[in-house]
């Protein structure tokens, strides 16, 4: 069936089997292979993209459910010549080893800073009305992004760097 959405600012129309997930549409039908498939079941976060500004797991949603939506993938955040500040910070702080989880980590990180700024509380927020940046907040909010190489301390350092220099 036909579906149209915007990916990284570009209007796109595809004809897809309704079974195709957003992740597979990006990777297999649009050659946007930055978003990764780790588990395909919402457990690892490697497939994290932003839809209408919110981070989601693209493996647990059907492409046909996204008619008219605006999707941002790692390719839309920055390019090798013009890195997004979060991409640059991951490089600077060694926020990865193999890099497989990294596109998802970076999409998630960018969204996490916006969520903190918007005052959205988390499980570790002591007072639900006082949301502030801290390493503990970052760790809790990033728990949906698993890193098999355990680059966690450097990922937190990268996110802190972007937060401090924003």
């Amino acid at each position: 069936m036909p579906v149209s959405f915007t990916v990284n600012g570009q209007a796109t129309s595809l004809t897809l089997d309704p079974r195709v997930t957003l992740l597979d549409a990006l990777r297999e039908h649009m050659a946007l292979t930055g978003s990764k498939k780790g588990c395909d079941h919402g457990q690892c976060g490697a497939c994290t993209v932003m839809v209408n500004g919110q981070r989601i797991n693209s493996c647990l949603t059907l492409a046909v459910m996204h008619e008219g939506d605006e999707v941002t993938t790692i390719e839309g955040l920055g390019s090798p010549e013009n890195l997004h500040p979060m991409q640059a910070a991951f490089v600077k702080h060694d926020g990865f080893q193999c890099g497989y989880c990294t596109p998802g980590q970076i999409c998630s990180s960018v969204a996490v800073l916006k969520e903190i700024e918007a005052g959205i509380p988390s499980h570790v927020t002591a007072d639900l009305d006082q949301v502030a940046f801290s390493d503990a907040e970052v760790r809790e909010r990033m728990s949906g992004n698993i890193c098999r190489c355990a680059a966690y301390p450097n990922i937190v350092a990268a996110i802190r760097d972007v937060h401090d220099h924003a």
């Binding site: 998630s108 509380p121 728990s143």
Partner: protein, 313 residues
């Protein structure tokens, strides 16, 4: 994943009628539980009715009697962050924030969360008998690995638990589930009667009919008091509850408690709450009377006692 056809519904009654018309049809909202199970072919809908574009069921609004009406499509993130929920129903914010991950909460809806299916490992393994997945095949968990399964309200057919954190808070707050049927009739189901015990028919998690659409969940007027959600799990984040306690403790010493991780439904025994004056152990003892744990999960009984004590401390 099996093949299915797909349509987008534009009104609640239209969505219910569309599911009623096609045998084997299901609603899809956030998709975070249904698609997971469809990939494993544990759920095999022939037709999906996408409810995400239905207008008027995605808002949180005040009700005439001072409570809140939460639209079925309100996402878990938005519900937890809502200023009225944070202030007057903090136990609900806390329960939501203790569940899943940021990405999942951005998609998960109020209705879908209530209807998420058990995390019993055998339910997820099509190679093993499971009465909930394939009625009449038997229960692999009773003699199997049951560490995470139910200790109370169990039957000889099933010892699964309901995995939702949000539902535990909804139960302590006495929420009501509002629905619409294909003919347009509406129904209000008290949360206590929404989830069911397994009995001889563990395939039915709730009393909702297959073609009945949840339109909203309403909360009565605020209770005041101190709100706590305490969740014990195998890691500090992004794991289902081993045991959880939702508590609302009023200034006059009255309290309400609901428990997660113990049963096929949010576990609340109102009569046990009257024991609070005698201490939390008395409450736990009364709430767990008749428990039938397995050798793997008997540890949950002392764990509930301690979690309850910690929750009110």
């Amino acid at each position: 994943m099996r093949q299915f056809t797909y349509e987008r519904a534009s009104s609640p009654a239209e969505a219910a009628a569309a599911v009623a018309k096609a045998p084997g049809a299901k609603f899809i909202a956030g998709g975070t539980n249904l698609l997971d199970l469809m990939k494993l072919e544990i759920e095999r809908p022939t037709h999906l009715v996408d409810v995400n574009r239905i207008g008027g069921i995605d808002a949180i609004e005040a009700t005439a009697d001072g409570g809140l009406r939460i639209g079925a499509l309100v996402r878990n993130t938005a519900l937890a962050a809502d200023a009225r929920v944070r202030k007057d129903y903090a136990v609900l914010s806390r329960a939501l924030l203790a569940g899943a991950s940021g990405q999942l909460r951005n998609k998960a809806t109020t209705a879908g969360n209530l209807l998420q299916r058990t995390r019993c490992p055998y339910f997820y393994d099509p190679a093993r008998p499971c009465n909930k997945r394939d009625p009449g095949t038997g229960c692999s968990a009773i003699e199997g690995f049951s560490r995470n399964l139910a200790v109370i309200g169990v039957s000889d057919a099933c010892i699964a638990t309901h995995p939702s954190d949000m539902a535990i808070a909804m139960r302590v707050l006495d929420a009501t589930v509002e629905t619409v049927s294909p003919g347009g009739q509406t129904r209000s189901i008290p949360i206590a009667e929404f989830h069911r015990l397994p009995g001889d028919t563990p395939q039915a998690d709730t009393t909702l009919k297959g073609d009945e659409l949840i339109t909203s969940v309403t909360l009565p007027k605020p209770l005041g008091g101190r709100h706590v959600y305490r969740k014990v799990r195998d890691r500090a984040s992004y794991a289902f509850a081993t045991v959880s306690v939702a508590a609302v403790i009023a200034a006059d010493g009255k309290a309400r408690f609901a428990f997660g991780g113990l049963a096929h439904k949010p576990w609340r025994v109102e009569a046990a709450e009257a024991e609070f004056g005698r201490g939390t152990d008395a409450v736990a003892e009364a709430a767990l009377a008749g428990a039938k744990p397995t050798k793997d999960n008997a540890f949950k009984l002392p764990l509930v006692r301690r979690t309850l004590a910690a929750a009110v401390a």
